[in-house]
């Protein structure tokens, strides 16, 4: 039974591939099939259409050179995403050569306002400003409005801070690798990540979870 099932799957994949290739050469087909996906991927990270377009184009050019055959669209797409990720890292490397990547100014005052400033309880949350209970955070992930809010909140982070946050949280790169890539110190990286998390958390609480709580 196994070989039969396997051959049916590969036939289905071949059909799927054939549907996506109505007489186009490989590079043209790539642009048609994966261009939009890769561009959106790059936009989410670089937040600039020109840079995103460059990254996608460089990805396809690199893919042309390293041309491989894939059984199925999913494998081909993850191969291209892998190349694109490296192009995005290259972009950050270039950016950090031009400007200082560290951004410690960001939200440095705002966070202190949430804690008791003086007395025996110095450094404790001011209770009204402390973290609120978030009703069913997991369910929010299915809602388009949540992603709209997330996008707005992450868009408010300074570009460098958002870049660092995504390298750590989305790409799961360790601190040392990020620091080497961007030429920043670990202690600065940790401060930036701390503030990014604090700001994002707070923005989502105010603009999403706080409102969801009111609606319940």
């Amino acid at each position: 039974m196994e070989p039969d099932r396997e051959s049916t799957t590969s036939q289905a994949l071949a059909k799927e591939n054939a549907k996506a290739t109505p007489g186009l050469s490989d590079p043209e087909r790539w642009v048609e099939v994966y261009g939009d996906y890769l561009f959106k991927y790059a936009m989410a990270r670089l937040r600039d259409p020109t840079h995103a377009e460059d990254a996608v184009q460089e990805t396809f050019l690199a893919a042309l050179k390293g041309g491989k055959a894939f059984a199925g669209l999913a494998a081909e797409r993850s191969w291209l995403v892998g190349i694109l990720k490296n192009k995005i890292f290259d972009h950050y490397r270039r950016a950090c050569r031009e400007t200082l990547f560290t951004d410690l100014e960001f939200y440095s005052d705002e966070e202190s306002g949430r804690f008791v400033a003086e007395g025996a309880f110095k450094g404790a949350w001011i209770h009204d400003l402390g973290p609120k209970q978030w009703p069913n955070p997991g369910e929010s992930l299915d809602k388009e409005e949540f992603w709209q809010t997330y996008r707005d909140c992450s868009g408010k982070l300074p570009r460098n801070v958002a870049a660092v946050f995504n390298l750590r949280e989305v790409d799961d790169l360790d601190s040392k690798r990020i620091c080497r890539m961007l030429n920043i110190s670990e202690s600065n990286l940790w401060v930036m990540l701390h503030r990014a998390r604090m700001a994002l958390r707070r923005c989502l609480e105010i603009n999403w979870f706080g409102k969801a709580g009111e609606a319940l």
Partner: protein, 97 residues
């Protein structure tokens, strides 16, 4: 009861403040905390529901950030324009020749 008071005071000095605990909880996601940092933070989290919430929410943010990349690549609002698509195709053609 003197010993009890002394114990509470000692524990109090070992426990970080909420402000320090938020930073430690964030850093725990990026590096190994020292023994004392870890001990102090654990102690603090037993006592403080706000900081426990804070930690849970940071872990949710990590999960959401990953989901977001998936979501944006599939359904993000900024697609490739027809002009950009053509530009890329032309560059690729030039690259092929």
């Amino acid at each position: 009861m003197k010993w009890l008071r002394r114990l509470v005071v000692t524990l109090g000095t070992l426990s970080p403040t909420c402000k320090q605990a938020t930073r430690l909880q964030s850093e725990a996601m990026d590096r190994r905390l020292s023994f004392f940092e870890k001990f102090g933070l654990r102690l603090h989290l037993i006592l403080c529901k706000w900081c426990r919430r804070y930690g849970e929410q940071l872990r949710f943010l990590r999960f959401a950030a990953r989901e977001c990349q998936e979501h944006e690549s599939g359904q993000g609002p900024h697609g490739l324009t027809a002009e950009a698509r053509e530009r890329i195709k032309q560059k690729l053609q030039a690259g092929c020749d």
